[in-house]
Symmetry: C5
Amino acid sequence: MKICQVEKTLVSTNRIKEMGHRPLLVVKEKGGARSIAVDAVGCIPGDWVICVGSSAAREAAGGKDFPSDLTIVGIIDHWSEE
Amino acid sequence: MKICQVEKTLVSTNRIKEMGHRPLLVVKEKGGARSIAVDAVGCIPGDWVICVGSSAAREAAGGKDFPSDLTIVGIIDHWSEE
Amino acid sequence: MKICQVEKTLVSTNRIKEMGHRPLLVVKEKGGARSIAVDAVGCIPGDWVICVGSSAAREAAGGKDFPSDLTIVGIIDHWSEE
Amino acid sequence: MKICQVEKTLVSTNRIKEMGHRPLLVVKEKGGARSIAVDAVGCIPGDWVICVGSSAAREAAGGKDFPSDLTIVGIIDHWSEE
Amino acid sequence: MKICQVEKTLVSTNRIKEMGHRPLLVVKEKGGARSIAVDAVGCIPGDWVICVGSSAAREAAGGKDFPSDLTIVGIIDHWSEE
């Protein structure tokens, strides 16, 4: 799983129905590019989070049919970027 | 999911029948390489879009049998590349 | 999907039986490393092609049991590498 | 599979229930970024370990429903980073 | 699939039972990092091999339950690294 920091909520009114109303967040890996993740735990900008990818992201987002390849599955209690 | 910008439609007359007639678009991640994505929402060149990869790209493109590893699942309302 | 150019046929007499006799080609992404792809459309060296990866590569290569992680699913009509 | 070194245990009290109480470890590939892996063998900081990704990480972590994309499946007896 | 060269056998006595006794080899992509692959064809150090990743690596290694994300599926007859 990747260690990312939440930046903000992403607004996209035009999306496929399978995505439902699950919140999508912009996250950023340290020194990496921005990605979009489905939020399955309820987090806020600034949080350091655990993001799961691959096929595991689907069930973590709510079910086999959910079209996610990156899902936030946990909030890290303390993370200091040294 | 990746944040990409749509460049143009890709023309490929010679392709496997499982791909059907779904539109294929050339997309570009910021600072990244060009990729080809299946369009599931109907977007136009210049749009910033949400692209899902991994196994989730198949169902997002129309079903488990669709041979996609990158599918556009949403259009981002406002995206400023700072 | 990736945009690759076909370089040549790969000869490997010693391989697992699940791969059958499907042709394997050496392909190259622009500025990227060489990879090996299963040819599902019939292409020749020099062709610019669409390569699908992830789990979708298996069915595109002929069935769920085919051990491919990169399959050529289409030939691009015109591609100019600017 | 990747060759990683275990750094420490990760503390995240707020996570989805599917993750259960399996230990999560911070691991580091040589010259690569830090990742989080599910520990399926019982290892300690400093160990060089084998990490499996992709869909195989799920079953290695305990079952198809376990939301892991990186699971430690073995400890390497001797590894010298030359 | 990736083109890798076999370096040596990896010794790991402490691993999950699902891995059985299948040989694990250290392989290296040209200019890339070392990885660990399951050997399904029987190769020796120095061989240039075809490595399949993603979900296809599981069945290539012996079955859907085998926790592999990289499996050697063929030996390349002649490979000159230019």
